[in-house]
Amino acid sequence: MKLSKLTTAVVLGVAAAQTHAATDDINVSAIINVGYTEREDFQGIAGYGVDDHAAGLKNGFWTDHTEIAISAPIDDMFFGKVTMVLDEHDGETEVELEEAFIQTTAMPYDLSFRAGRFLSNVGYLNGKHAHTDSFADRPLVYRAFMNGHYYDDGARLSWLAPTETYIELGTEVFKGATMPAYSDGEGVGAHSLFVKTGGDFNESHSWQLGASYIGFKNDEEYCSSHDHGEEDHEPHALEDEHGEAFGACDFSGDKDYYIVDATWKWAPNGNYKYQNFALSAEYFIVEEKGELHHEEEHEEHINVFDEEHHDEIDVEHTGFYVSGVYQFSPNWAAGLRYSEIDFDEPYSDGFKPKVSTAMMEYRHSHFSTIRLQYSQDKSVEHFTDDQVTLQFNMALGAHGAHQF
């Protein structure tokens, strides 16, 4: 019911947009992202609490992150974009408003301001739409720490330095109510700082570096486990070896992320059509200071009861991924990716979750990609999951420009 109303709204919206398309620059696009995955059920990422979004692709047939986007200049000062994402969770189609923002195009002093709901620009992948990724799912480190990607209601101010080398500075404030943030949503629950720089080594080689910080004030009381009703599904956390397991919402306190990212792209003579290679890596340091909630089972005489604990913690996790993608003809590309996380206690006592991924894709045109992906997933101890995915990722309508 919820969906059919929305579908009608979207269809009407698209129809309305099309009548204007000739005169205004309204871009309407849809990304169809469907596929089939053969894997075991998701069992969490070590003992670290994550919600369903961090699971990656579903077993069997799936329609994941199928999106509809409408964007256009509003006037000579503002640009606007709305992106709706349709996801399937436990047999129910969920509609997420992933983006609804306005951005200035005519601010003085090389400033730019964005407000509304949008993807945070920290790190390299987070600000990008998943359908522009070279793999069917986000790397493990993004799934564990960013719930795939972090978007929220907020505002961003960024400034481009007047230098020959590209240097962009930016800061964001967010409500803090979508995972991995969970604060009361009243006021500022997350804030970020980022700097991005880049340039060309020569005609064939280009680079980009970034350093970001994002901090969340999390309170388990307000954890809503992303936007969809958290009561439907349990936050995932596998009981690990020493019996500890934490849900996605068991932490209260400050969560600080420090992210560095590096990207290098190569194409002979800078001609990306026939051949190109892209190497990118991101490294995360995540600090958690606060209280961790857990329940301990106690037996006293014949009674078994759960005792609630709030343990003080001050921990530091790290994680990274490296990916390389080589497009060796206009039609074909292949890529490798490795991602690993080193959780601090009490989430892990030394086990490092890791996923190795290989993919091969065929692009019939600029708009259609068919991808075969294999992942060796070691997210939980003593278990290796061989995951095979066939993905169809296709774009209808306006071609959006892609970030570097």
Binding site: D110, Y166, H402
Partner: protein
Amino acid sequence: MRINFKQKFALVCTALLVTMLPAQAQLNIFACEPEYAALAKELAGDDANIFSATTAKQDPHFVQARPSLISKMRRADVVICAGADLEIGWLPMLQMKSNNRDVQSTEKGLFLASDHVENLDIPVKVDRSMGDVHVLGNPHVHLDPFRVASLAKSFTEKLVQLDGPNAAVYQKNLADFSQRWKTATAKWQKKAEPLQGMKVVAYHSSFKYLFEFLGMQQVGDLEPKPGLPPTSSHLLSVLDIVNQQQVKLVVYTSYQDAKAADWLQDKTDIVSLQLPYTVGGNKQSVDLFTMMEQHISMLLLSLEQK
């Protein structure tokens, strides 16, 4: 001949006037393609800082919105591009990320060539099954000298609009360029007479405007559909066209793959020819004039080959 006082006086006055003309502001011009950097150079003069985002070796459809281009666009006073969605994959991203309010719309510092001339190949009906078709028509407008002449006028108007104090300089540059271009165009037309009616196969619709100017006829395309790379089954159908219509020539640009054209050359007595397409496309093409001369002389030369 003796120079009298009156003439001397006039000379000195002219010299003074020229030096007193306001010094040309250092306009920063961001050109999406080398042909528009060359046009800007003719019209904005030597003092302008002109930057070309792409080279003749790069397919302008597939450029990356690289960090270096963002910082270049940040400082641009004028952005000149082919338009008609040729740069749709990267130009909007650069505009958005450059935070430069002067180059966001064509009312200000953005100049899209295709907006100022009549475009060929405007489809009556468009859907993606036709390939990467441009709704606004073929954007490769720089290869028709008549269109270039009118683009020169329109772009000068843009320069005058943005840099009024130097209007006289721009008008003078335009007058000078137009005169030389007109003479050259007449010469090219005469020289290219033997090419009239010649049938040709090309890669993409890159040379459509050149063929129109020269009275040539593109009867086949190495691409099955715009933007899709040649396939073997499609090439077989091109082979049929070549044999049936007695086509003698297949052309491609400096950024397109020679393989398909060479394959056709091996199968038939067709000549495979890489044309410069834009300024810098071969050694001799150093500006718009030499680029056009190269196109015509290379095509004429191919007639003698066989």
